[in-house]
């Protein structure tokens, strides 16, 4: 979905950001900024239903995921949000300059199943590239798996469409896998 059509999408969605500080950004400073300035400033907006941070488990150098449920995808084009990005604090500028990797992703909701008691202790994020709009088939399969072979400890699943990427061009990549490959290659380098 192009950016100009984002404002037309009034339905709920999902917004997540993958990030990793570079060597010149101390981890405490990164977390302090994220947890006391950046995240809370967003949760003050009515459009952000919640906001959670997760840490990658399998990557050598951890990548941090910040994810938010949006009441309206179009809220990301409203002044209350865009102002936050245009008028960043000096500290935020200083932190972002030293971010090693940053990838913003916006999704629209497709289907949900199970009981949502967010935040869950563990998140499994599966990105799929579905041929010829056979998304319904994938969705039916998910429903069958849930019914016939529920995994121990599974709470719920949310299927979402990737609608737009606002990542800087260097990180406009085809897949999460490619993004993580790129990430491994750029670890320690500034962007």
């Amino acid at each position: 979905m192009p950016l100009d059509r984002l404002s037309a999408y009034k339905g709920p969605g999902f917004f997540c950001v993958l990030s990793q500080p570079s060597d010149s950004l101390p981890i405490d400073e990164y977390h302090h900024w994220y947890n006391t300035e950046h995240g809370p400033a967003r949760l003050k907006l009515d459009n952000f239903a919640n906001g959670f941070r997760y840490k990658s488990r399998d990557l050598g150098r951890p990548v941090w995921l910040a994810c938010y449920d949006l009441k309206r995808v179009s809220g990301l084009t409203e002044p209350q949000y865009t102002t936050l990005r245009e008028k960043r604090s000096e500290r935020e500028h200083h932190v972002l300059k030293r971010m090693g990797y940053l990838d913003r992703r916006i999704y629209t909701n497709f289907s949900s199943r199970g009981v949502d008691k967010s935040p869950a202790p563990i998140l499994l994020a599966v990105t799929m590239y579905v041929k010829n709009n056979r998304v319904d088939e994938v969705d039916r399969w998910y429903e069958e798996v849930r019914r016939a072979l529920p995994l121990r400890g599974w709470r719920c699943a949310h299927n979402k469409y990737r609608s737009i990427s606002t990542t800087s061009p260097e990180f406009l990549v085809g897949s999460v896998a490619a993004a993580f490959d790129l990430l491994q290659a750029t670890v320690g380098k500034r962007v």
């Binding site: 997760y54 000096e90 499994l124 994020a125 995994l151 400890g153 719920c156 699943a157 469409y161």
Partner: protein, 186 residues
């Protein structure tokens, strides 16, 4: 091709990668999906770390890491220990640069000399400083004003590059700080 993200939420105690998961991965319908319906997929597991709350918002504090002091000169003070009396080292940058040219240096110095404070600042026209005609005298006065606003009466050492050196020299001539005082600090 459509990109579909499936977010599965799990309890800490779960069957991920266990025998039931392995069994599920070999079911015919799953193999059909993987082989025929999707072009590629990627799995990543994340552990919960933090929940944002609006009430946790703290306006960035002036003396925490990055400091917006006073116009027309803005600066940043960095230190490892919160001791406002720790000796101060002033970094003055060259023409066409802002205070961030010192960032990698400061990071290392803070680790090596935790008992010191390090000040770097934007001269007029750089960073968020004002944009007015400037000469070496003005820059020296700006530094005096900046130190004054920080309550700093003396500094331990000054590190300078190019134009930074020129106005620091002017500054030295202007303030009452004598070399003798600097030696005493050492």
């Amino acid at each position: 091709v459509k990109e579909l993200l499936a977010l599965h939420e799990f309890e800490s105690d779960n069957g991920l990668d266990g025998p039931e998961h392995q069994y599920a991965k070999l079911r015919p319908w799953r193999l059909k999906i993987v082989n025929e319906v999707i072009e590629g997929k990627d799995n990543k597991v994340f552990d919960f770390s933090h929940a944002f709350r609006a009430q946790d918002y703290q306006k960035p504090k002036p003396l925490h890491g990055f400091n917006h002091v006073s116009r027309p000169t803005t600066g940043a003070i960095s230190w490892a220990r919160k001791d406002s009396h720790a000796p101060l080292v002033v970094f003055s940058n060259s023409l066409l640069t802002d205070l961030h040219i010192w960032d990698p240096t400061i990071d290392e110095l803070i680790c090596a000399f935790p008992g010191f404070r390090f000040l770097r600042y934007n001269t007029r026209g750089y960073g968020s400083s004002s944009n007015e005609p400037v000469d070496v005298d003005v820059l020296a006065d700006d530094l005096a004003g900046l130190l004054d606003s920080l309550g700093v009466q003396r500094y331990f050492a000054a590190v300078r590059v190019s134009l930074g050196g020129a106005h620091l020299q002017k500054f030295r001539n202007k303030i009452s700080l004598t070399l003798r005082q600097i030696h005493r600090l050492r």
